[in-house]
Symmetry: C2
């Protein structure tokens, strides 16, 4: 039987999303299981294999699965391990290094498994099905709770010497007096240009001034609140995005000087605020890049349907198996 | 006859160095011609071809030249053009875009020519004959009058979408109140960590304080003077290198987060000051990189004989032809 389908798996801290995908990028059937209801990696793999076998049955896809692609935090492409992921509670024989790909292949009767981190998976997804189709050189930036990145050079994801390349969220955006970041460093891009960073900027600015703002009435402020306020014309909220865009654009200039990509592709919750982000990003990019790239590097937004994007990204890895 | 030799050409603003190189990296014979005695690109190519034919005769290498590699400022690997190089005065038919590789192949009776910028050539040279032998992922940083870079990922130089990737000297080292750089931007790494930058730091610090220093007796200060003073124990001169090393290390941390290299390889005049640079670079690198890379990325120095390095780097390109 022709092996014309793949499975994509997106491992998150709370839930793990799975889907069977065809060559055109249609998700035929999907399921979600809890990630956090066990701390035993082997038990989780058993639950996962059970769920996958169920959707394979549903899709009448027995014998047609070419491979399984997994996007997971701290996923290492070279080893197939998930290593010391802060948001995943699993251990195996007391260790936080989980040979995920190998365990899953064994549980799935030998179907090959390819694994990488979520942002790299998103880059492969965008190249296979989305905004980066036909591009050989681009940088994917995921603007979510954190800032992730997947770098594609000559049509291939950059994994580096050890498999962990592409941590652009932890390059330095603000050298002196930079905000402390969850990674332990300070001044990281992620501390400013993530959902958490945007909310923090808004809170800091509200404390520093008496400027009226719709955000003052809220008890807690999320990046979504800032976006809603900006849409209603709130000047402070709009300036928060202008500031965020400027910081992103400044760092994008550095990234362009590194790998000279055709485009930078933005994805994730914050990327919804494109009407407030695009211009400041573009301006700061052009002001900080060498003249030869001014106005030449495209800034594009993901074209994948949000609910399917994570599954599609992971599934795209499996076509390369 | 076996084509067992290559030619390496290093095009500089004043002189162009050429050599015939064997597979072990021995420069068998060499010559130097003026770069700046004509503004006519075709006339220069004619001079160059004449010089090359002379050394081919000398080395009895007729029929044995497999290819020619050229390292040149603003050299584009994809097109073989030298485009708008500020330090080269040539034009061709009124244009500053010179189809150098094609012209040279024609003048050399069809010998294939590969061309890239000087820092990329240095990276290939180091990978073929030098400190990066056996490495598939490393970043070459050339610390000369300016700061150049050649990035190798998966054993291949990164050229990017347009052929100009790897301008790490123009990534931003100092965001606010940064020094103006020759490129028109401000705060570039090159404005601090080049020979010119080091001399400038020394001059600024001498003006700002009354601290005694051997450098005060000099009319003009070069980076070499600062190095000599540091070797004689001059505290200010040593602090200039500590500052330079810190700025380099901070940016190296960003580069590591991009491509996760096995090593960063330093080359060029300033790299001689390694006894004053290594420790501050290493400290700043480790302080600014994610924990997973701390202490893991090697900092190594070029192993190519300085007088041959430029020719060897360029020649190494030709083996790939």
């Amino acid at each position: 039987m022709e092996k014309d389908l793949v499975i994509g798996i997106d491992v998150g801290g709370q839930t793990t999303k799975c889907g069977i995908v065809d060559a055109r990028g249609t998700v035929l059937t999907r399921t979600v299981i809890r990630t956090d209801d066990t701390t035993d990696a082997k038990e989780f793999i058993a639950h996962l294999a059970e769920a996958l076998k169920r959707i394979i049955d549903e899709a009448e896809a027995e014998g047609r699965i070419r491979g399984i692609g997994v996007g997971a935090p701290n996923g290492n492409y070279y080893t197939g391990h998930i290593e010391f992921a802060p948001n995943l509670k699993w251990t195996m024989d007391g260790s936080k290094v989980i040979p995920f790909a190998q365990l899953l292949t064994e549980a799935m009767d030998g179907i090959p498994v390819s694994l990488t981190n979520d942002a790299n998976a998103a880059a492969v997804g965008e190249m296979t099905y989305g905004a980066a189709r036909g591009m050989k050189n681009f940088i994917m930036i995921t603007l979510g709770t954190g800032v992730g990145s997947g770098i594609v050079i000559n049509g291939e994801v950059v994994y580096g010497h050890d498999g962990f390349a592409g941590e652009l969220g932890h390059t330095c955006a603000v050298r002196y007096n930079g905000r402390s970041c969850g990674c332990g460093k300070s001044g990281c891009l992620e501390a400013y240009a993530s959902a958490i960073g945007v909310a923090r900027t808004a809170r800091e600015w509200l404390e520093m001034t008496d400027e009226p703002s719709l955000l003052r009435s809220l008890e807690e402020i999320s990046s979504k609140d800032v976006y809603e306020a900006a849409k209603e014309g709130d000047a402070l909220a709009q300036r928060v995005f202008a500031f965020t865009g400027k910081i992103l654009g400044e760092k994008f200039a550095d990234f362009i000087e590194f790998s000279a990509p055709e485009a930078i592709v933005l994805f994730g919750g914050l990327a919804h605020a494109k009407e407030f982000l695009t211009e400041p990003i573009q301006q700061a990019m052009d002001a900080n890049v060498l003249p030869l790239w001014r106005g030449k590097v495209k800034l594009v937004y993901s074209q994948l349907k949000e609910s399917d994007a994570a599954i599609l990204g992971a599934s795209a890895l499996a076509w390369e198996l």
